[in-house]
Symmetry: C2
Subunit: 317 residues, 2 copies
């Protein structure tokens, strides 16, 4: 048994701008539950610490927003298949900054159980194993400060209100896209704590800060192997526009954002993995393979060097 802690950082500011707080819990639970699932463990119990400037003393507009948070909390717990325990809500006034009159910082802790036969050590990974990417439509909660900076430079102070030509959503709504929670599906694949695995899984990388080079690199480290990612997901149109406006080079973009896949499953049985993902309504595809060569090579789907090979040799940490 152990615990994971994480928060959603400055992504909250996007919710504050858009005025929609119903999806923040999905981002929060994705961070902690998926980080447990990637170990081969099973998240079971979750609680959170919500620091808020004010609960509004019954003011209707505050009540509505708190209800949004709470509904998201329940929905996300269901999606992650974890039980909620009492968390903490602290009203801290000016100690909580942000945008507008309802501001908060939100972190969570999840208790997970690991079965010692299933916790990944890295040594399970073999040359030739396949990489199955699980699709992520948004940024999750990573690289958000850069996203905000780019959008403010491009659109100005009220960037979130602008429309985006390729979507009916506003720029703010697109930036707010909630994280996919993969943990239920991954626990189903690995067996989690108590069940039989439904597919042979050799490792799982949760693509958060550091991107594919950082996070897949960390998982591969103890195997002494590398990977070629020759068929990554196409990032969303919106993500590519943010990359373009910010003049973020493809290498840097792959190091900062998930670029279309929030989880990578390392497996000799990719068909089984993709079939389980489908049961959980998660798009997946074969994105690459484990190689003897220790570097990670990504055939870019970024907006500046599409189709070119980006080679990362020193991102394993």
């Amino acid at each position: 048994m152990n615990m994971n802690f994480d928060g959603i950082g400055t992504k909250v500011e996007i919710a504050e701008r858009v005025g929609d707080h119903s999806t923040m819990a999905y981002d929060l639970f994705a961070m902690v539950c998926d980080d447990a699932a990637r170990l081969g463990a099973e998240p079971v119990l979750i609680g959170s610490i919500l620091d808020v400037n004010s609960l509004g003393n019954g003011d209707e507009s505050f009540v509505q927003r708190i209800v949004q948070l709470a509904k998201g909390y329940i929905g996300a717990a269901k999606a992650a298949n974890v039980a909620i325990v009492n968390g903490e809500v602290a009203e801290l006034g000016g100690r909580v900054g942000g945008y507008g009159d309802f501001r908060y910082n939100w972190g969570a802790a999840v208790v997970w159980f690991g079965n010692k036969n299933r916790i990944f050590t890295g040594k399970e990974i073999l040359k030739g194993d396949y990489l199955v990417g699980l699709e992520e439509p948004g940024f999750r909660s990573n690289g958000i400060s850069l996203v905000r900076r780019v959008l403010e430079d491009f659109y100005g102070h009220d960037w979130h209100k602008h429309g985006f030509e390729k979507s009916e959503k506003t720029v703010g709504e697109l930036a707010l896209t909630p994280s996919k929670i993969y943990s239920s599906a991954v626990v189903n694949m690995t067996g989690g704590y108590a069940n039989e695995p439904r597919a042979k899984i050799h490792g799982v990388a949760h693509i958060t800060g550091g991107g594919i080079p950082g996070k897949l690199g960390r998982v591969l480290k103890h195997s002494g192997l590398g990977a070629i990612v020759d068929n990554p997901f196409e990032p969303s149109e919106f993500l590519k526009h943010v990359q373009f406006w910010g003049e973020v080079e493809d290498r840097e973009a792959y190091r900062t954002w998930n670029m279309g896949q929030g989880m990578i499953i390392i497996t000799p049985e990719p068909e089984k993995v993709m079939s389980i993902a489908k049961e959980y309504e998660i798009n997946s595809q074969l994105i690459g393979q484990v190689t003897e060569d220790k570097s990670i090579t990504i055939k870019s789907k970024g907006c500046f060097k599409e189709g070119e090979d980006l080679v990362f040799s020193e991102d394993k940490k």
Copy 2:
């Protein structure tokens, strides 16, 4: 198994003012561990979420303060006899407000184990049981906004720098007095998860927000009994001055602050309880007794009505 979450609210501002961050973890761990111990449970694993404006990028003055936080974290975990797991540190810039250039909000989660034979239901409490108070020299983390308001009104903006005639410490240092962590002693008394109880304990009240009327009242609720607290601890000179300057009536003071006892042990064996408290270097005294009358009556040690009976009939929540 279950979790408790809590934070230290605006007490952090006092540490920011005084420039001493080494005791904050004692306040933090006291809140969550003592809340587990009061149930009859045993806290075992703790982690925290630290939201900080900046980690200072190697700047020496930041490093020193982070080291203070970390040392306190380790010391407090030792005092509470809990294991530390990885927590989360989030650098959130302007989303974290406060005093000065190093600002943070801090919450923690503790995992506790409860033995079903020992978790208190309230029904264990009997008429005639004794109340043993465990001394608390400071405010713990409760009623701090009021403390800060009173001190700012009395001393002005830089209130923390002033001296206090009855002490060598500054006003800020006195307000910062770290919480006593009682959980190790209380677990030793109750037996916690796995050990035999060393004394018959019928209930435990952790005196936080709501004070004795609120928190002792909550514990007594299911017993249908009340209490007379005819010999409470004397609050510190400093606390009484804050009460006086703020013109906080005794009733209100007892509802807001612990007024000298941070924990109340309900027991038919007060001598045993006081002897165990002494082993843990906690001052304790017999402060009262459980009564058939449902109200809670406190013989005040406040600064306005010392010696008078304060009767609380409706604070049980």
